[in-house]
Each structure stands twice: as C-alpha cells, then as structure tokens.
C-alpha cells in the first residue's frame, strides 16, 4: 500500500504549518484513492492476461483443420464439447466481455488519477515540501 508521509522540517519552517480538519480529510481521501488505484491496476493486469489467453486460443482455433471435430471448451471446471462454430462464438463472447471489463476499469483508473492529481496540487500548495504524496514505484 502506498504511504502518505507528512513530515515537518521544524528547523526551517517555524511558522507552524497548521493542519486543519479539512486538510486531514483531503489527505485521507488521497490515501483512499491511491489504494483503490493500486487495486484497479492489479485487476487490469489480470484482465489483460485473460484477454491475451483468449486471443491465443482463438488463433489456435483457426489452425484446426477438421471442421467437424468437437472442441472442448472450458465452462467452469469441465470441458464441454462444442462444434467449431459454437466454440468460435463462445470465444468471441468471452473476449467481448473481458474487453468491456477492461474498458470499465481503465475509465475508472483515469477518473481516480484526475481526482488524485487534483488533491495533490491542493496539498502541495499548502504544505510544499513537508508532505510526500508520491506512490512508491516498484
């Protein structure tokens, strides 16, 4: 989890940078958004992996010559045999669903990033160097 650190350099700033309740709430809001954003990033990574697998699967499907051979398609924990057409359809459906999920997650990510940069500007304006709002980049 990214941390928000507030440290006051008491040697330089003798004017006690007073933290009001509003500031505390802004800091809290920022921390929440940050945590949510990291979670979304994780989800996005998983979904993109899923999409890649589905793309690979549909590519492999194109390589199959025998049109009449049943294709075992994973539903839950069992493989259900479908003919080529149904299997293609199922793959397309699954791909569309994952693509839609990815779009939704990306939209929310952008939303949160805007909120965060907004709060960042406000907090940096008030506290300057006394506050550290950067996420720990791994």
């Amino acid at each position: 989890m990214a941390s928000v650190a507030v440290s006051k350099d008491s040697l330089e700033s003798d004017s006690d940078i007073h933290i009001t309740l509003e500031d505390q709430q802004k800091i809290n809001r920022f921390a929440r958004h940050n945590a949510k954003w990291e979670e979304l990033r994780e989800d996005l990574k998983n979904k993109k992996g899923d999409l890649q697998n589905l793309e690979d699967a549909s590519d492999d499907l194109l390589l199959v010559d025998d049109e009449s051979a049943p294709i075992p398609f994973v539903v839950g924990e069992v493989f259900v045999h479908f003919n080529m057409e149904d299997a293609k359809e199922k793959l397309e459906e699954a791909k569309d669903k994952v693509k839609k999920d990815i779009e939704a997650i990306e939209a929310e990510c952008t939303n949160i990033k805007t909120l965060m940069s907004d709060l960042k500007t406000q907090l940096y304006a008030k506290f300057g160097n006394s506050i550290n709002l950067e996420a720990e980049e791994e």
């Binding site: 006051k8 008491s10 933290i19 539903v75 839950g76 924990e77 259900v80």
Partner: protein, 191 residues
C-alpha cells in the same frame, strides 16, 4: 472538546451515504491544535506509545478485513462459473442435444462423459449438503448468492476505506506530535 466535535461532521456525512457504520472500528480523534491538545497532558512518550498501539490495532484489523476480502473475491468467480454452466445446459436443453464433456475426476484426470438434456441440477450448498434443483431455481439461487457476495464485498471495501482513514489520521497525529515535541525541546534548550 474541540477535536471530537470536529470529528462529528465526518461521521454524519458518512451516515448520509446510507451505509451502516463500521464494524467495531474505533474512530481516531483528529487533533486540531497540538498545543491545546498537549496543554493538559504530560508525557509525550506515553501519548506516542498510545497512538502507536492504536496504529498497531488498526493494522491488525486491516489484515482481517483483507483476508475476508480475498475470500469473497475468490467466491465471486466461482459463482459466475456455475451460472455460465447453467446457461450452457439451458441452451442445450432447448436444442435437445446431448452434451459431450471431459469431466474432472481429479486434478490431472479427466474422463469422457455424455450428458442427456436435463432440467435438473444438483447444487453443492456446503457442509456436505447437496440439493437437487430445477435449472430455473438453481439459476435464481446462484444469482442471489452472487448478489449477496457482491454486497458483502462492497461492505468490506467500505470498512477498509474507513479503517485506512483512521490509520492515516493516527499516523499524521503521531508525526505532528513528535515534531511539536522536538520543537518544544529545542525551545527549552535555547532558553
């Protein structure tokens, strides 16, 4: 005291969001003015220790909530998969076709099976109980479970957010208190 009064608006605004308040998570009092706060208190170290203890408790609660969240997050795809399977069964029943499957016998062992079109399914309810349902009833039950799981997940998220807020507030309090103390010592030494 001024600081607790200042905290009420937060709780009000959170209650207005319609969600019930937070499963036994104590709220951290925000210190508006460190001077006034410390005026009747002696022993900065003991206060810091108290705050540190509080912070530790919050961390522990966070671990609990995170574990619960993980469990819920893993349940939801399972329910989704069962729902998908029911849809497939329904579709096949309409066309009155048999379903040929590779059936999971154990992790590495599958077996071929032929399923006749049917309208009964058995659902595993847990606690070594399995009940037979019609396709429609099974779908309704699974959808209800899915909804409950999503609702619980939302609740856990909500609690986690509040918990994080309290943790951040406590951390900020500790930092300010420590700095205030350092300044006070410097002022004393300068005299």
């Amino acid at each position: 005291m001024a600081s607790t009064a200042a905290c009420e608006p937060i709780e009000e605004s959170l209650k207005l969001s319609g969600k019930k308040s937070f499963a036994g998570i104590p709220e951290a009092t925000f210190v508006e003015d460190v001077d006034a706060y410390m005026k009747d208190r002696e022993g900065v170290e003991s206060i810091l220790r108290q705050l540190d203890e509080q912070h530790g408790k919050y961390k522990f609660m966070e671990l609990n909530l995170l574990a619960r969240k993980k469990k819920l997050k893993s349940q939801i795809p399972d329910i989704q998969k069962s729902l998908d399977m029911i849809q497939v069964l329904e579709a096949k029943r309409k066309t009155n076709e048999q379903i040929e499957t590779h059936f999971l016998l154990s992790d590495l062992l599958y077996s071929r099976a032929v399923i006749e079109p049917t309208d009964k399914v058995c659902l595993w309810l847990g606690a070594n109980v399995m009940l037979e349902y019609t396709l429609e009833d099974a779908k309704a039950l699974l959808e209800k479970n899915h909804e409950t799981a999503m609702k619980n997940l939302a609740q856990v998220h909500h609690d986690l957010d509040f918990l994080r807020d309290q943790m951040t507030t406590t951390e900020v309090n500790m930092a300010r208190l420590y700095n205030w103390d350092v300044k006070r010592r410097q002022a004393l030494n300068a005299k």
